[in-house]
Symmetry: C3
């Protein structure tokens, strides 16, 4: 029950979103018990964003929302991996990528809460 | 002071959003002390989403954000109701709907925090 | 490591976003230790929103996400200031502005978590 939501200034193509989908689906396994089997993704390209008072063509804000919790170490690994993916595939400078985590206590799927 | 934010792959019409507004405005009463009188809604249709590695035409990610807390039982009732509404009105398969809850401690309205 | 995300029904011009960027960059200093140097902003205009069962042309939902915590008093000051800015610059009625705060424990930048 994780969901990774990506907002970026980059104008994303369908091919890029498909590729990120595959990479993120593998990366999420860095959190114990999580896999692509329960992973939802949302992508928003061409976003209007600023960082440090500047508007740059390469920027991303990624929110990882998960049911339950994981360790600091696991979150660190995932930050490293997601940043690397966005750097490689979208040419976004890692210094312009924020990745934040939200641990969720109440999460519903298929009409019922876990 | 709740806000329900809906992202879906479905391309929403104004009529559908108006209808969801009415239904969600009633459903929120399942959380004690909450009503349409303080409910904000945001709708985003035509979103780029994936679930379980697939891109399907019917998918939704719903975030219920509320000032304060409610019980597990009340959240479950609301999940059931919101899922039913999205299934009936937008023909989204319940197995492709995530609904997550965020309990908020600091919430401002009209220039002041509650 | 704060991020302020603004959704509004107002159709934002680039000039308005640039202006809000400057004002928000100053306002964030109301939270101790925060400044424009680490502030990310996202703006979404022309959003589909409802409040109290109505669709109005002037409405905003603002999410302030920050690494760590601040005091109730500081959040109140920031709510007051952000509301004033949106009222002055976008002519949004303060009674149609929600501002909510999320205190984040795990936040990554540049490939590593803080």
């Amino acid at each position: 029950m994780p969901c990774i939501q990506t907002k970026t200034t980059v104008k994303l193509t369908s091919a890029q979103e498909d590729l990120l989908k595959v990479k993120f689906g593998k990366a999420i396994e860095l959190l114990p018990g999580k896999s692509e089997n329960w992973l939802m993704l949302t992508f928003e390209g061409n976003c209007h964003m600023y960082f440090k008072g500047r508007s740059e063509p390469d920027m991303a804000f990624v929110e990882v929302k998960l049911f339950g919790k994981a360790s600091r170490q696991d979150y660190s690994k995932l930050t490293h991996e997601l940043t690397s993916i966005l750097h490689r595939e979208l040419d976004i400078n890692p210094s312009q990528i924020y990745i934040k985590y939200e641990e969720v206590s109440h999460w519903g799927w298929n009409g019922n809460n876990f």
